[in-house]
């Protein structure tokens, strides 16, 4: 208790953290108060709780679990719902947040523990849509075709996706009642189809997003493009893919040029 007393004079930061012991256990809220330091972000606050795992009432508790990697908003691992908005905790500055700061896991994903979620479904989706360029073979294929510079510029924007899951959390059509894969993997199809070598397997990717849980499930709420921390033009990708998949659909029905 002496620890709490000495901290009294100090400015404190209040947290409300939604915790859960494992996938199936019931979530509960625990309050924390930690001493203020200048320029803190949510992760440095969580580290403080880990160092000194006492809740607001002064009871010793288990340290809060969360995920992180790069600490500079490029890996996407640290995403969580902060004051109601899904975002990265490493770039969520305490000074800019209203208190008490409410931390919740992104419930679109299975909760591993506390704020830590399992984003496997996103990686599975990337496999499903073939978000890569197949170049492996038994001999050297030589250099691929060049990419027009203008296209490289917009494709680069799409390549910034860090699979953070924020756009899935924001999408009203990604939920337990639907198997929609969400905006991020769709936009990756546009990225890989824009690549001159990737375009050689264009129809396979389009075919994949014309399957279950694919592009057809988008309802145009356009929340994803508002939510994406990387500013990826997700709704532009989706509309462009609508055009591509429609053409693919007509080719499948009527054409003989439906493969590539």
């Amino acid at each position: 208790m002496t620890a709490t007393e000495t901290m009294k004079e100090q400015k404190m930061i209040r947290f409300e953290i939604y915790r859960q012991d494992d996938l199936d256990s019931t979530p509960y809220m625990e309050e924390f108060e930690i001493p203020y330091r200048a320029n803190m972000n949510v992760i440095s606050a969580l580290m403080e709780i880990r160092r000194n795992p006492f809740n607001k009432k002064g009871d010793k508790t288990t340290p809060v679990a969360w995920d992180m990697g790069c600490l500079e908003e490029v890996c996407g691992a640290c995403s969580m719902v902060i004051n109601g908005t899904p975002r990265q905790s490493c770039t969520a500055l305490v000074d800019q947040l209203e208190q008490p700061i409410r931390l919740e896991p992104m419930k679109t994903f299975p909760v591993v523990r506390d704020l830590q979620v399992d984003r496997s479904r996103m990686f599975d989706s990337l496999k499903k849509v073939k978000a890569w360029i197949p170049i492996d073979g038994t001999y050297d294929l030589g250099p691929g075709p060049r990419m027009p510079e203008k296209r490289r510029q917009w494709a680069y924007e799409l390549s910034k996706c860090m699979t953070c899951g924020v756009c899935l959390e924001a999408c009203p059509n990604v939920n337990s009642k639907s198997d929609f894969i969400g905006p991020a993997p769709l936009s990756q199809v546009r990225l890989f189809n824009a690549h001159p070598t990737g375009a050689m397997n264009k129809n396979e990717r389009l075919q994949a997003i014309m399957g279950d849980g694919g592009l057809g499930d988008c309802g145009n709420s356009q929340n994803c493009v508002q939510a994406c921390p990387k500013g990826i033009p997700l709704t532009t990708s989706i509309a462009a893919l609508n055009r591509d998949t429609n053409l693919q659909m007509f080719r499948n029905f009527f054409g003989s040029d439906n493969e590539v």
Binding site: P172, N175, D179, D212, Q222, Q226, A227
Partner: protein, 202 residues
Amino acid sequence: MANSREFYWRRLHSLLGVIPVGIFLIQHLIVNHYATRGVESFNNAAHVMEGLPFRLILEIFIIFVPLYFHAIYGVYIAFTSRNNPRQYGTFRNWMFIMQRVTGVFTLIFVTWHIWETRIAAAMGADVNFGMMESILSDPFMLAFYIAGVVSTTFHFANGLWSFLVTWGVTISPSSQRISTYVTIGIFLALTTIGIRAILAFV
């Protein structure tokens, strides 16, 4: 959905919302507008429509089947979304929600409206100016009809916006912004036509 034809069903749903259901809606509102020119004009127009050859087949395949396919699949779509206007209070997210709300309300309205007019006609009633006049003499029904028309025109106009996205016509943000303005214009025009017709009966 269990079957892997979901993409095609969704495309069909989108297409039917405009062709033929949307086209029929415009035609229907315009024919009703004859009511503003008096009892005679309206009855003549209604009888021309009634007298069309192959009327029952036209009604079944241009109206009922596409409409109820769109409507029932639409209810399924509406109930598989989890709306989140508190986190994202943007214009488009509200339009997304309103598209679903007006879809469900339109289904209730249209079903009632078909029951009260078309099914009654099949039972022998004459669909004419007098029929609508007596329906709309009840203030509750008048309000219900006005709400129904506004809900339907909203749903159609906003649906036209997303139809253009679904079919890959409007891709860039600026083209989507322009089509927002155009579809707002269509909403206002159709609502004016629809409400003027209703008020002509009271």
